[in-house]
Amino acid sequence: MYQEIILDHYRNPHHKGLRDPFDVEVHHVNPTCGDEVTVRVRVLDGIVEDVSYDGQGCSISQAATSVMTDLVIGRKVDDALVAHEAFLELMQSKGKLEPDEDVLEDGIAFAGVSKYPARVKCALLGWMAWKDATAQAVAKQKEAS
């Protein structure tokens, strides 16, 4: 379960620390373990301009959030959502899916985690927060325009 890639992201997380400017900030909690993450999202012209975050939690939740930022920052919202879908599918696969490295990059290291239902929620915490924040940001822009 504890692949080197996961440990690397855990020890040296990417894009960590809350940054300005942002459109939406959300705070998500995994009630079963107390893991928390605050995610800020900035969306411009359908592009995920920036994602920053802070949080506390286990290696899986922290590393997955770090991997997530790599996969979504600078991407079209729609493409980022495709990555999100792929990661979600991988996590629900109970170890039975061969992940696509082109889509998930470092995220493929989490294939083993999907065999541990108790840890799947950890891996999804940051992603869920990002998705929530992004949806709000997109909605905000629609309203504004």
Partner: protein, 417 residues
């Protein structure tokens, strides 16, 4: 019984060790299935294997046993959901159907209820309900000031629907009724009742305790809002029941019991709650009992619910036909197998039901006597109690014949024939 619907009853019987027992030196004839059924080897072994090798508390651990236990418990939920045509998340495990119904009755009365009740509001039931689908609504009415109303019964033992539109009206918030009566055997017209409830915007709750064990049930197709049943009547152990509800409704209901597992964030000053089904499963759930219930669903599914139903129709017809031939014995409830389950209540003129039951027991025949937790039905038909025979997949025509012969012997003993 057509050949495609047949199954090997003798092979099934071998799965139930108790059926080889003798009672008072006579082979056991078990006709008390409406009260509770026996459990086949396969169910007991599934539970035992789980408890001996994969047991742990669920939901809250990362260690291997707790993951295996959680997987088994949630897989059981999926199996049970499939068995009634439902989605995994819409199935709540309770300890019995009584808890499932009380869960709804309390949740509806709790702060945050999507259907708050008060004076002027009405709850509708029927006169044929089991106490477990009557007393919770009486108590809810008492707590909230709402009024309880009910559909009466015809002399033939069916629901009297002539005043349906009065009893279920614009003030009705909930209509709760049984799919099949445990005392009369009557199968109610679910679509007609649901249609009327929908017209007036009332929720429907169906007590499936006597239907799910005996016939195919698809909760989605029934169009009801809430549906409940109980494991011990369908080859599972005591201690497990099910509440099914439409997902949006379940997630709109406030919780019933508070405690571990049903929470989201707990602070001393207040708490938020998890989504269904966890919201309604406070504390350590009925883990191994759920696993056993899933094994029971698998067992029933393998035999086939259509086949079981067809088998019971044959036995019920034989019993009704037989009783009709016996002077001084009469049936309470529908006298044909039309829209009817396998529970047959009867009274023997001049012999109190307790004495009927005790005398049959002397012959090795187990029937239930009393009001069968449906006292208003006895009152409606002017009897203090009844004797009730109810067959299931492991009963045979020989069992029915033994009962019919037993009734004659009882009459002779008590000088009533």
């Amino acid at each position: 019984m057509t050949s495609t619907l047949a199954f090997d009853v003798e092979a099934v019987r071998k799965d139930f060790p108790v059926l080889a027992r003798e009672v008072h030196g006579k082979p056991l004839v078990y006709l008390d299935n409406a009260s509770s059924s026996h459990k086949p080897r396969q169910v007991l072994e599934a539970e035992r294997e789980f408890v001996e090798q994969h047991y742990s508390n669920v939901h809250r651990g990362v260690h291997t046993l707790s993951q295996e236990a959680t997987d088994a418990y949630e897989a059981a939920r999926s199996t049970v959901a499939r068995f009634i045509g439902a989605q995994h998340d819409d199935v709540v495990f309770t300890k019995n159907v009584t808890e499932a119904i009380n869960l709804v009755a309390y949740a509806l009365g709790n702060p945050g209820s999507p259907v708050p009740l008060g004076p002027g509001d009405e709850i509708a039931v029927t006169e044929m309900e089991h106490h477990s689908n009557l007393v919770p609504w009486q108590m809810l009415a008492e707590r909230t000031g709402a009024t309880l109303r009910w559909l009466g019964l015809t002399d033939e033992g069916r629901l009297d629907l002539t005043n349906l539109d009065q009893i279920v009206n614009e003030r009705t918030k909930l209509l709760a009724f049984t799919q099949v009566s445990n005392i009369l055997g009557t199968e109610n017209d679910v679509p007609a009742l649901v249609a009327r409830a929908k017209q007036v915007g009332a929720l429907t709750l169906v007590d499936g305790a006597q239907s799910v064990p005996h016939q195919p049930v698809d909760v989605a197709a029934l169009g009801v809002d809430l549906f409940a049943f109980t494991g011990h009547k369908m080859l599972a152990p005591s201690g497990v029941g099910v509440l099914w509800g439409r997902g949006e409704l379940l997630n709109a209901l406030p919780p019933f019991m508070g405690g571990g597992s049903m929470i989201e964030v707990v602070q001393m000053t207040g708490s938020t709650y998890a989504k269904a089904p966890e919201r309604f499963e406070a504390g350590t759930p009925v883990i191994s009992q759920a696993v056993a219930l899933a094994a029971a669903c698998d067992y029933l599914g393998a035999v086939g619910l259509d086949a079981i139903k067809a088998h019971e129709v044959v036995l019920t017809a034989r019993l009704l036909d037989g009783i009709r031939e016996l002077p001084g014995v009469s049936v309470l409830g529908p006298d044909s197998t039309e829209a009817r389950g396998s529970a047959v209540s009867f009274v023997v003129d001049g012999v109190h039901p307790h004495d009927v039951g005790q005398s049959l027991d002397d012959l090795g025949i187990a029937v239930r006597v009393g009001h069968h937790c449906a006292a208003p039905v006895c009152r409606r038909y002017g009897v203090p109690a009844t004797a009730r025979a109810s067959s299931y997949l492991y009963n045979t025509e020989a069992d029915i014949d033994a009962l019919l012969d037993g009734i004659v012997q009882v009459q002779r003993f008590w000088g009533a024939a």
